[in-house]
């Protein structure tokens, strides 16, 4: 019925789609973290991509560096995620909170976090070396349906990041702390009046976003390697997803993440990986010109 070539092409495209879905799901996770921290604290974090690498490096230290034997990834996540939370909380208290009292502090925060990004990038290069590090896959083996091959790793990445988002959405909508976070996002002054500790909520959201992006880093670093230099590009990617999805919209972020994951996979497949960032940039410009509020954003 079909020629040999057509069938091969079909399998190839399926592979590209799977790759797009699994990276897209992690992008969604990162974008949700970013829209959270920007929506609540109004602080734009340029070091976001370096926290992604931080997650990867922490996992690498535990698994490869220290040779953790028992438990595998669940134990790693159990150790790394509180660590990332602490780092995020501490950095917010130490670096962002003092700036909040200044005038035009949003710009100051951007400069400060860009400095932090440069600091972390060069620190990774000094400590871990310029060469990329690799993490073992979370689950080995493949699942074959006819001639289609799905690796368990891709499936696990997809499942874990989507469940991460779902847990986050549940926390935000159904718990007291989630309610407090939403209250601060809507009206910081009003939230203070009813007795919500604003400063602590700011630090907590910053820490949660650090955990989310670091978790994404652990997931995606198994496929991509950990590159000390990649922080800036990852931050831009997360931001493009956020801008395309619409600020403050989790569902928009999900759609945008899959669109961008697919776009990147297909551009990479057809023209080469280094063109991914160019395609992304063109998409960002097009979004900003044609629909600045994003797919599902509410607009200013």
């Amino acid at each position: 019925m079909f020629s040999e070539d057509t069938i091969l092409l079909f399998y190839e495209i399926t592979d590209v789609i799977i790759a797009g879905l699994s990276t897209g799901s992690v992008y969604a996770l990162m974008a949700v973290g970013m829209t959270l921290v920007y929506g609540v604290t109004k602080a734009f974090n340029f070091a976001y991509g370096d926290f992604f690498n931080m997650g990867g490096y922490f996992a690498w230290i535990l698994i490869v560096g220290l040779g953790l034997e028992f438990g595998g990834y669940p134990v790693v996540l159990l150790i790394v995620m509180p660590l990332l939370f602490a780092v995020g909380y501490g950095l917010e208290k130490l670096l962002v909170a003092p700036l909040r009292k200044r005038k035009d502090w949003e710009n100051k925060v951007m400069m400060m976090t860009l400095g932090l990004a440069l600091f972390l990038t060069s620190l990774y290069m000094v400590v871990f070396g310029v060469r990329m590090k690799s993490l073992p896959p979370i689950l080995e083996g493949t699942w074959e349906v006819g001639q289609l091959v799905f690796s368990y790793q891709d499936i696990m990445i997809f499942v874990m990041s989507i469940s991460g988002i779902l847990i986050f959405a549940w926390v935000l909508n159904n718990t007291r702390i989630g309610m407090a976070v939403r209250a601060v996002a809507q009206n910081p002054v009003g939230a203070t009046i009813v007795g919500i500790p604003k400063e602590r909520i700011f630090a907590t959201t910053f820490a949660i976003s650090t955990v989310m992006v670091g978790f994404g880093g652990i997931l995606l670093s198994q496929k991509w390697f950990i590159n000390p230099n990649s922080g800036g590009i990852i931050m831009v990617k997360a931001w493009v997803v956020t801008a395309l999805g619409g600020m403050g919209s989790i569902r928009g972020g999900l759609y945008a993440a899959f669109i961008i994951g697919m776009l990147e996979a297909f551009v990479g497949w057809m023209f080469g990986m280094s063109y991914g960032i160019i395609a992304l940039f063109v998409l960002l410009l097009a979004t900003l010109v044609l629909r600045p509020q994003g797919l599902r954003g509410k607009g200013e």
Partner: protein
């Protein structure tokens, strides 16, 4: 700051620079550092004009610098355009690029501008390295290796005769800085400040945000492109590695040391930081770490830079 004070500070900075070759003229290493000081002073001042005065949070200054350098280098190597003409054409090219980048930024606010311009920076590296770059003659991952030095009437300003080259750089750098200074003190500069402080109010007074924001993009990218092109011709080699974050962080430290929005500060900051970063060379790879940490510390601890300290000290002096 008053025009008188600006001229005084710039005069002292450049005056000291102009005298130094008498003492160190035969030490090529030191002369190289001084030329770099002069070049970076212009880039830092342009960035300061953009961020501190016009209030546009652009992170694309290094990208424009590299664009100018590459444009002029490609013109000189591939199309054998005489360097002086190539530098001018590179300036015009970057000015056009600046306007193109500025156009989408006009409608945007805050972090969006920072991101678009940072995206330009990020996207430039794969362009220069990849097939598109090779097609236009960027030399791909090798870079440009044989950029001819600037020559005027058959006299070539290369690093072989470094003292005349130094004075040429001084002249170019000083004229760029003076252009920036007079822009700040002219009607334009006031318009920039008004737009920065309150765009709505400034527009109600008849200041066109569209016109002035594009103007600042065009002017700063023109000057940055010119000085970048000059850098390429002086250095002779260019690589896409310039887009790595080291240079970016050093430039930011310059501006922060000088003081954001305290104009001649960035000139002063550039001189100080270029010299300082050479002194930090023994730190090796830790230099970049230190620079990043310095940005964080300076933003937190020294919000107005050295100029802010200076102004505060003068105020206290006149008060008591």
């Amino acid at each position: 700051m008053r025009l008188k004070h600006m001229i005084a500070i710039i005069g002292v900075c450049y005056g000291i620079m102009a005298v130094l070759p008498i003492f160190v003229g035969d030490i090529r290493f030191v002369m190289n550092i001084m030329i770099m000081c002069l070049i970076w002073a212009v880039v830092a001042s342009c960035w300061d004009l953009m961020m501190g005065f016009a209030g546009i949070f652009s992170f694309g200054q290094v990208a424009f610098f590299v664009m100018g350098a590459y444009c002029s280098g490609i013109l000189a190597i591939e199309h054998s355009v005489p360097p002086v003409l190539a530098i001018l054409m590179a300036g015009l090219f970057t000015a056009v690029m600046g306007v193109l980048v500025g156009l989408p930024c006009l409608k945007l606010a805050g972090p969006y501008i920072a991101l678009v311009t940072f995206g330009v920076h990020m996207a430039l590296q794969p362009v220069l390295r990849g097939k598109i770059g090779i097609a236009i003659g960027s030399g791909g991952s090798v870079g440009l290796l044989t950029i001819p030095p600037v020559s005027i009437f058959g006299y070539s300003f290369s690093s072989a005769n470094i003292v005349p080259t130094f004075y040429l750089t001084l002249l170019l750098s000083l004229s760029c800085v003076l252009v920036i200074m007079f822009t700040i003190k002219s009607y334009w500069g006031v318009a920039f400040l008004a737009l920065k402080d309150s765009q709505d109010f400034a527009m109600s007074l008849g200041i066109s945000a569209f016109k002035y924001k594009l103007m600042v993009f065009a002017l700063t990218s023109f000057l940055t492109g010119i000085i970048g092109a000059y850098y390429g011709h002086f250095y002779g080699v260019l690589s896409y590695r310039m887009l790595d974050l080291d240079l970016f962080s050093i430039l930011m430290v310059m501006m922060l040391v000088g003081g954001l929005g305290h104009f001649p500060g960035s000139v002063f900051g550039a001189f100080l930081v270029v010299a300082g970063s050479e002194l930090m060379a023994p730190l090796g790879a830790y230099r970049a770490v230190t620079m990043g940490a310095l940005v964080v510390i300076l933003v937190l601890a020294l919000p107005n830079g050295m100029m802010g300290l200076f102004i505060g000290w003068r105020k206290r002096l006149s008060a008591g």
